[in-house]
């Protein structure tokens, strides 16, 4: 399951999508919008996506992870448009037979997203705004 949506993200469908009777571990990462960046107060964020390619990149990233951890299941959802403080902008869900591959595959997917997913973040401050790239 790979989603890009303007609506609030709900982990439940992703959780279900990666469930499997043979799995013992479920790892859920949520990226949440913070209230400050380097001391500046953030009022909200806006995500812009190259939507068609972003969905393809989610599939490609998951396929790369499955080459390394063939027994896991992966679901990814990213929010677009304005996102309020404390809201979830990204969910990476990984179901796995055992915990090590759960943690590792989840982290692998997240790092690839931060690097490759064609999505851009604008931080809106009380006194301005800025496009913020991942470090």
């Amino acid at each position: 399951m790979f989603l890009l949506q303007k609506e609030v993200l709900d982990p439940s469908p992703l959780r279900r999508a990666v469930s499997d009777p043979g799995h013992g571990a479920l790892l859920l990462f949520e990226g949440v919008t913070r209230d400050h960046f380097e001391g500046r107060r953030v009022t909200h964020l806006e995500y812009e996506a190259y939507a068609a390619m972003a969905l393809l990149e989610m599939e490609r990233i998951a396929a790369d992870a499955l080459l390394k951890w063939p027994t896991v299941k992966i679901a990814i959802a990213h929010r677009t448009g304005p996102v309020g403080l404390g809201e979830t902008s990204l969910i990476v869900a990984v179901g796995a037979p055992h915990r090590p591959e759960g943690y590792e595959a989840n982290r692998f997917v997240l790092e690839a997203i931060k690097k490759r997913l064609p999505v851009w973040k604008k931080e809106v401050y009380e006194d301005g705004q800025e496009w913020k790239a991942n470090a």
């Binding site: 990226g31 390619m53 902008s89 490759r116 064609p118």
Partner: protein
Amino acid sequence: MGYPTGMPTVTVHYFAQLREERGRPQEEVELQDSESVMDLFARLFPQHTPRSLSVGFAVNQRHCSGSTLLSDGDEVAFIPPVGGG
């Protein structure tokens, strides 16, 4: 060599600061001979170099190197540093 009936064109997508600077999210652009995606960037944004913006490239919805040659009908995107997550 025959003359083509229409000039080869590509669709170019702009995002984030490049979209704001360009004032539109996408446009059709006529290709020049043997033009790479980086050449096209230099033609459309002569005030920037790809390196100064750390801009990357995608052709037909796939990340690619700047030296990728463009063909009629390609979907091109310039990819400023991403910020998803």
